[in-house]
Symmetry: C2
Subunit: 330 residues, 2 copies
Amino acid sequence: MRIHIQNPPEDPYFSVTEEQWRAALARNPDMTGLEVSFARDDAGFARALPETEVLLTWVRSLRQRFPVGALPVAAPKLKVIACTSAGVESAMPFDWLPDSVSLLNNRGTHADKAGEFGIMAILMLQTRMPAFADMQRRGEWKPLHSSTLKGERVVIVGMGSLGGGIARRAKQFGMHVIGVRNSAEPHPDCDETHPTSALDSVLPKASFLVLACPLTEQTRNLLSRERIARLPKGARLVNVARGAVWDQDAICDALESGHLEGCVTDVAVPEPLPADHRLWRTPGMVVTPHVSADDLARYNDHTLDILFANIRALREGRPLPNRIDPARGY
Amino acid sequence: MRIHIQNPPEDPYFSVTEEQWRAALARNPDMTGLEVSFARDDAGFARALPETEVLLTWVRSLRQRFPVGALPVAAPKLKVIACTSAGVESAMPFDWLPDSVSLLNNRGTHADKAGEFGIMAILMLQTRMPAFADMQRRGEWKPLHSSTLKGERVVIVGMGSLGGGIARRAKQFGMHVIGVRNSAEPHPDCDETHPTSALDSVLPKASFLVLACPLTEQTRNLLSRERIARLPKGARLVNVARGAVWDQDAICDALESGHLEGCVTDVAVPEPLPADHRLWRTPGMVVTPHVSADDLARYNDHTLDILFANIRALREGRPLPNRIDPARGY
């Protein structure tokens, strides 16, 4: 089987190295008969494509590289495009993707790191760290006490690997975990699960709300100004999804009015966020620069293990576990 | 048995109420035959003392109220003074305390909250939150990635209820936990334990160092300038003990020089910390105002349950589990 790994031209972190490839083969000894090529430039990509059956690449390049109808001509043997990210919204709409090619993401890579970031954010909000950060700037020593997380209710929107990783940690801290997902299928780390259609009735119960869903046409502006108003006064929010999933301006307004007590967001519109943007200076808002789910020391290893799990499924004629449904967008 | 509860005159939080007392009796149905009185003023205290056998009070008042030799005269029937705190250094030296009176603290009350604060602080330091807070002030979006905690080494000095609570959480995150305590007795949540005398050889291994010991004459300036130099470059520190356990100025110097990467301290010298103090503005330093271990919603309930556990031991002629050894100071 011919695999081509097309690395980003300049990024030092998400480039898969030959050494990582060999280590992944050693971890997955059944992966025999794979012929691999690596490139980071256009010439190398063009050289490899005619024979490539499985392409591993970063998602941002796909739509620009392949206008509608171009891919079957450029890569007639292609069966799988595996992306080195979980979010694939930058490749949407999928009009460029032939039915004969399965698009994969690397969901699963981010669960552990996202779980740690999520519980850190929840603990920071519970402990009033945004208020203490303000006090530290002013040199003010004013104790504000807080309780442990035990029994606090957290609503997690999106129970994929980000949401699942956070739910697992939240349960370890004794929280009552309410999962919101497209199905109402139970989840081992949720006390309750509800379909997205029930979101309006779930929001008033949220002491904490965590956004961890993919950005799709269905989730764009999911947490609208109207829904923010449904949250109880003093609710606290964590966004590890995408900035477009909430109404960013309405969030800032709700923090300024005191309706919301605090937020930790790892995502913003736009990214990178300009220095003069209101989000940086909204009281109670903690901004981190899109780092919540990427454990660089283990990232490419996870991505390759997930690729191999999908190649294994392909060989055995099973459904590919990381396949994106183009209609759903995740 | 005559119990007197002397509450602080003004503090709204740590005053034990009659309702909390009744709820504690309901949780501990064997606690029969207790006669209780409550006061928050000097007159009520003076009225109760002659008959009091067990006194529950806040520690700060003890040395001032009872000059050496005064207590046996004022409270001839007194057997137990139970303090509503874990640290009792403000009552030291114990020259005012007759041998016939056992002094208790409420250790155990703080384990859960301290565990949550400790792991929050470790996660914040691992995730580079002090650097992101600086960037947020400047409006700078610059991703710095970090790995999960799995396999990171944390040295915890003091394996009482604070240190034990933090060790338990650290294990849940897969850290390698090294406990330092007066004995080298194993601890269920430590991968290794070492006696305090081995501290110098343990410090170079610390990716994280957590101070969680009581302040005694032995632990004052325990983390001296010389010992700070023994920590590996880039080490990260958490102090939930007392500000006098480390050399506070040397810590600030080590952050400024880049020898240490970051600190979270919940304690300072002095407390409250003056607005113009260097600690507030040292790069990489996160200061919280002594809130790491007090879960006010559950604090007095815990304190009363611990008092009852000690009264149970007293009745059964067993050693009192929360007794302070005046020679050790904890």
